[in-house]
Amino acid sequence: MLTEATMEKLRILAESAKYDVSCSSSGTVRKGKAGMVGSTVGGIGICHSFADDGRCISLLKVMLTNYCKYDCAYCINRRTNDIPRATLSVSELVEITMEFYRRNYIEGLFLSSGVVRNPDYTMERLTAIVRDLRTVHRFNGYIHLKTIPGSSQELLMEAGRYADRMSINIEIPKEESLKALAPEKDHRSIFLPMGQIQQGVLENKEDRQKYRHAPRFVPAGQSTQMIVGATQESDRDILMMSNAMYQQPTMRRVYYSGYVSVNTYDARLPVLKQPPLVRENRLYQADWLMRFYHFRVDEIVDEAHTHLDLDVDPKLGWALRHPEAFPVDINRDDYERILRVPGIGVKSAMLIVNSRRFNRITSYHLKKMGVVMKKAKYFITCGELTSAFSQPVVGINELRPERLRPLLLSKAQQKRAAAEQQLMLDFETDASLPV
């Protein structure tokens, strides 16, 4: 039976879990079954609410316990932090999950835990809960389970039979930085379970080709997360790591978490007034370019550009560095090239290639389809001499990137850039001026 004490525990454990940004409930379609509660929808998943920070609430993101024996500098739940600690009992957690789910508050459970005693002990408790949910309470909704680094393979294999998605966070892309901040962790303890889960998924795939009813293993694959702004890693380091992750067949999502200064007293960490939100946003944009826009990671960042441009998005940044790729002919060029035009997304690119079978596409059509002509007009040609959106047609090659760039910045950005370029006339110290 739940009481007011449960509410306090839930509050504490949700506050401890909220810095894990993974939220999706996607990646697996499972119809409802007779005698079971729930289903998963696949596609983009369902976000049931949006918190005041604008992040979606899809799963009940909660920790089993926030006691932890580790002392990772970036983590709110580190051993040395003086925060309220709590542990949810199995029955409490199961009841909250089921009742929330039945009221359509959530899409499923995101279960994580601090490490108590040893990794195996913790992982065993997590596994017990998801097993209970699935077999006793007949829960058929989404379960995202955190993998505890260093737990044994047998436990992972069992947990994977009940969970839809498993994840283990890289947190810091470079091992030496990770060692400095989290002395108990290393990259091996992260990548080993990742590999084991992947192997399980691939074996399961093979099994299911032979036996149709073989139980599924982690059907929604894996995800991971990296902290942005806590260490000196460049965007290039982070994106190279995500790229390597996406090469793995079971890695579905890499999340980026702008570092929130939770442990301000630790000298190893920077003290930030604001989490690096713009940088985080640019990293997500770059991530989208890799996953949906057919960009290679070395097109987004390279040795000369180790950090993403904070003023313009990475796609526009690439376009400004590569004027030779433009203009793109909307009526002739293939889908891949149209997708590279700033201001045209996946949806409008599909609309364009579908519609141009019927008649020629003009810039008026593009505007109506939802293309951001303010940006796109410099990079395309529709076979028009002049159009309402650029008179006369002036593209990136006529303007040159360095003159085009200021035109594409927002008003606020333009002002800032102008203030930086303005030469200061310093009258008082300059003696060479004729009086």
């Binding site: 509410m7 909220k18 119809k31 369902i46 992040r55 009742e99 079978r357």
Partner: protein, 272 residues
């Protein structure tokens, strides 16, 4: 330009298409009965809905359009937008004026450069967007008899699109989803979904304005779970990242009144 008047049903619209071909009238302005007639209009033609004619038109559409295109018509119709009538009418006429497409690629609904197709497409998109929002934002309360109740008032008539989802997901719990704007709902009794209307809405055990069940029929620990959810909702927010703009764009304020986490628990007052 000939003015047609119809009764704002899909059958009526399809009959209007039939009539326009039957009477060899190419340019037609389609209005619903009671709408203001344009100046200097000829005597309007009154379309009498005829399911026979409508089904003939629909059969023709099945030959000329892909299944996506047919779906687009039925879904966009649920938007109940007045501005949809004319583009949808034009779209269906255009489908018949062109040759039957040889492949799905040439099915007319893919031509987004046509203003009529684009208008129907966008209507359809808005409906699909809202049905997703209903799946997201519907909040059930449990009544004493074990029925789960949710009240909504969506902009478009999306309930028919989401009952399948909720029947699949909550197949062992009876639920009622009620549309306060259109005064009808769907009830699932554990086996089948039926649509329901209430004769006397004032005597219902729930409030249509905020969707709350009366305290005497609310199951005993439902209030506790509502409070738990509100607590959780507050706790999960990172205060350093407050972003009301993003929240409002993803969860517009018009949905808040029926949502547990946003319609408050403490100041609940029972009205006499």
């Amino acid at each position: 330009m000939q003015v047609y008047l119809f009764d704002h049903t899909l059958d009526g619209l399809l009959t209007a298409v039939f009539d326009s071909f039957f009477r060899h009238q190419q340019s037609v302005q389609l209005l619903t009965e009671g709408e203001q007639l344009p100046l200097f209009a000829d005597e309007p033609h009154l379309v009498v809905s005829d399911s026979e004619k409508a089904s003939r038109v629909w059969k023709g559409l099945e030959k000329h359009l892909s299944t996506d295109g047919l779906r687009m018509i039925t879904i966009s119709w649920l938007s109940e937008e007045r501005t949809l009538n004319q583009p949808l009418f034009n779209f269906i006429c255009k489908v018949f004026r062109q040759q039957a497409p040889t492949s799905n690629y040439l099915s007319l609904e893919r031509n987004a450069s046509d203003p009529d197709v684009l208008a129907v497409r966008n209507s359809c998109r808005r409906v699909l967007h809202e049905q997703l929002r209903m799946k997201q934002f519907i909040r059930f309360q449990k009544a004493k008899d074990g029925t789960y109740l949710a009240v909504v008032s969506p902009d478009h008539n999306v309930l028919p699109l989401i009952t399948g989802h909720f029947r699949d997901r909550f197949n062992d719990q009876p639920w009622l989803i009620f549309d306060a704007k259109r005064h009808y709902g769907f009830y699932y009794d554990g086996k089948t979904v039926t649509d329901v209307t209430f004769e006397d809405e004032a005597s219902l055990p729930f409030d249509l304005r905020d969707g709350k069940l009366d305290a005497d029929v609310l199951s005993e620990n439902d209030q506790l779970f509502q409070d738990l959810w509100r607590t959780y909702f507050k706790a999960i927010c990172i205060r350093e990242r407050i972003n009301p703009k993003k929240q409002l764009s993803d969860m517009p304020r018009r949905y808040w009144k029926y949502m547990t986490e946003k319609n408050g628990g403490e100041d609940r007052k029972k009205e006499p």
